[in-house]
């Protein structure tokens, strides 16, 4: 599907690791103000729920995890929430192996998250940082941008390991 609009809209349109893609039910996210007014290229992003595949952005050894439970929230996890996930793909010598059940903190989500000043932040993919039950990160470095929301959610450890803060 090629969006014939500006490149900005085509980037909004398609994403490989989205949540569950278009959700045509009445599940609308928090804010309805979007800058892009081309309704044909807008995609309805939703929460991170069971069976969502997320990318792992630390050096713990895993590559892809699949969410099996969102710890807080009836509909699913959002940016900054913790999830329980199962490792689906891993590097051969890493700290976690395939099939392990781990906890993770969502650091990038395709669904927009409202900030207190009225703006929203959303990313192109869903990414997670693996932690243990006490909230200690398993890896030692975090790659890619992470949002400020982690500070509010008491994930300052992940912020301090990250290189770039959005």
């Amino acid at each position: 599907m090629a969006a014939t609009f500006a490149s900005k809209c085509s980037r909004v349109g398609r994403s490989l690791w989205g949540g569950l893609g278009n959700n045509l039910s009445g599940l609308l996210s928090a804010s309805h103000e979007t800058a892009c007014n081309h309704f044909l290229s807008q995609q309805q992003r939703t929460f991170i729920q069971m069976r969502t595949v997320l990318k792992v952005v630390d050096n713990s050894g895993a590559k892809k995890v699949m969410c099996i439970q969102a710890l807080k929230g009836k509909k699913g996890a959002r940016l900054g929430d913790t999830i329980i996930a199962s490792v689906k793909e891993a590097y051969p010598n890493g700290k976690v192996k395939k099939g392990k059940v781990v906890y993770g903190v969502v650091v990038r989500a395709a669904m927009q998250r409202g900030r207190c000043d009225g703006s929203e932040v959303k990313f192109d993919d869903n990414a997670v940082v693996l932690v243990d039950k006490q909230g200690q990160p398993i890896g030692t470095r975090v790659f890619g941008p992470v949002p400020h929301e982690l500070r509010q959610k008491k994930h300052v450890k992940i912020l301090s390991l990250a290189g770039h803060i959005a």
Binding site: K8, R11, S119, P145, H148, L159, L161, I165
Partner: protein
């Protein structure tokens, strides 16, 4: 795949800025009543964003210049923020660097290192790393810092405490008080995470990114071939 963020409103990136926020109760079980939390993000030259954070750590305030700057920009929603900030303005910051150093030397924490991260960290000015000899010692360092903050705010109506993470397992405790972030680790955790190498090389990491911008400029290749160029008639 390029990772990118898109926003509806512009947001300023502050190179160094203290935020002002009010905290909720900490993990010590103190039942605190927090005032309505808000923050002022002192931005660059063009934009200021106002933040309202529900449960965060308390941070320091902007200066008078920041307030004047906000007035000049005519940001309408700042009036509410300004009210709270002028009220907070007379209070001190939560934890200052000298106080932190003094407390850490009192508790006899090992290997205290202070890293100024103003240049490559927008959300904190100083990172303090301290090592504890055991998990109990690490927890004690955290408790000593909280006690110091409580002492500072004796007699105030509402206590504003910094946020503490990792209190249950005593391996890595982070105390976030705005400008100053204190990490209390034990030796194994310190070797494992190696936070100093992360932040001291931060400045050197920034420079290659700037060169990348120049590298993306298209430059016409030099044609050093000996072949004669075909001349179209």
């Amino acid at each position: 795949m390029a990772l990118s963020t898109s926003r509806t409103l512009l947001r300023s990136f502050a190179s160094l800025s203290p935020f002002a926020r009010c905290s909720n109760s900490t993990s010590y079980g103190d039942s605190l009543w927090s005032s309505e939390p808000r923050a002022i993000f002192k931005g660059g030259s063009y934009f200021l964003a106002q933040r309202k954070l529900s449960s965060t750590s308390v941070l320091s305030l902007g200066s008078i210049e920041a307030l004047l700057q906000e007035w000049k920009l005519g940001f309408p929603s700042l009036s509410r923020a300004l009210y709270c900030s002028t009220a907070d303005f007379k209070k001190n910051e939560l934890l200052e660097l000298q106080e932190v150093e003094k407390v850490l030397s009192d508790v006899r924490a090992d290997n205290v290192k202070v890293i100024p991260v103003q240049k490559h960290c927008a959300w904190a000015d100083f990172m303090v790393i301290a090592t504890g000899r055991s998990t109990w010692h690490v927890k004690n360092i955290a408790q000593a810092l909280i006690y110091k903050v409580k002492q500072k705010q004796k007699g105030a109506q509402r206590l504003m405490l910094p946020s503490v993470e990792g209190q249950e397992g005593g391996k890595w405790i982070v105390i976030d008080s705005g400008k100053v972030v204190v990490h209390a680790l034990d030796e194994k955790a310190r070797d494992y995470y190696s936070l100093e190498s992360l932040w001291t090389t931060g400045t050197s990491e920034k420079e290659p990114i700037q060169d990348l911008e120049k590298a993306l400029v298209k430059i016409r290749r030099k044609n050093n071939s000996k072949k004669q160029a075909k001349k179209s008639a």
